[in-house]
């Protein structure tokens, strides 16, 4: 009974992860400029991938395989935002404009939201 529930949960997670990866890739294609594309890519890194990995962990149970999957998830958890941040920083230093919708609100006038 419990094994069936775990099975169902893992398939749901894997299906959801696949769908989110596809949505992220679609966003990568649809978004108009570089900075907005990066948000779509971070959808793949921070939701699609962990869901897929968690689904596989549930599939493989309490074994070394799931330990390795956990390492992959942790590796992504630490490295993907780092790479994204490095990209954004390098792009800005190189003068790729973020193409804003409004003027830059400063730290002071964010209080009156």
């Amino acid at each position: 009974m419990t094994s069936q529930i775990i099975d169902l949960a893992s398939w749901l997670l894997i299906a959801g992860g696949g769908i989110f990866c596809m949505i992220g890739a679609l966003g990568l294609l649809r978004m108009p400029n570089f900075f907005t594309r990066m948000h779509a890519a971070s959808l793949i890194d921070s939701l699609g991938a962990p869901m897929l990995l968690l689904g596989m962990i549930l599939q493989s149970g309490f074994t070394l395989v799931s330990a390795k999957l956990l390492f992959i998830a942790l590796l992504l958890f630490f490295t993907s935002p780092t790479a994204t941040h490095a990209l954004a920083r390098a792009a800005r230093a190189r003068g790729v404009g973020p193409d804003l919708a409004e003027e830059l609100p400063t730290a002071t006038d964010r209080e009156d939201k």
């Binding site: 630490f78 490295t79 780092t82 490095a86 920083r89």
Partner: protein, 144 residues
């Protein structure tokens, strides 16, 4: 890139684990995918990562160029030395079974040593290539 604190902190966190992972691949060549070549590449990648974040001079201080050159030579020497040792013990070149009393143990030992030699050499060669590439472009006064 040392000015960027995110990269600096994450690199500090990550490099020891990459090194352990590389050596894990080195020693588990007979259990899964892996072996000397891949291990050498991973270890070299960790050191290159250090150089990317903290700059070549610091890395050169941690891993001086003469050590790298020594590694290239020592790895090949280890490889060939195992081969010659097997010949001296009465087998063919790289015939591991004569290295210990039991052939199976000998084979394990021989493969381990040869893979170690390959790993050391690959690390050394990768690092030499990187040092040359990275040191070339702007600073002609290389500090070797």
């Amino acid at each position: 890139m040392r000015g960027d604190l995110v990269l600096r902190v994450i690199a500090k966190l990550l490099i020891p684990f990459i090194l352990v992972f590389g050596l894990y691949v080195q020693f588990h060549g007979d259990y899964g995918p892996g072996g000397g070549f891949q291990a050498g590449v991973i270890v070299a990648a960790a050191i290159i990562f250090h150089a990317l974040i903290y700059g070549l001079p610091l890395t050169r201080r941690a891993v001086p160029e003469w050590v790298v050159e020594l590694m290239v030579a020592a790895g090949i020497l280890l490889y060939a030395g195992v081969g010659v040792a097997t010949m001296l013990l009465g087998g063919n070149f790289l015939d591991y079974s004569v290295l210990a009393h039991e052939p199976v143990h000998g084979q394990h030992l021989g493969i381990l040593l040869v893979e170690l030699g390959v790993g050391i050499t690959v690390t050394g060669v990768m690092l030499i290539i990187f040092y040359m590439f990275a040191g070339r472009s702007r600073s002609p006064h290389s500090e070797s």
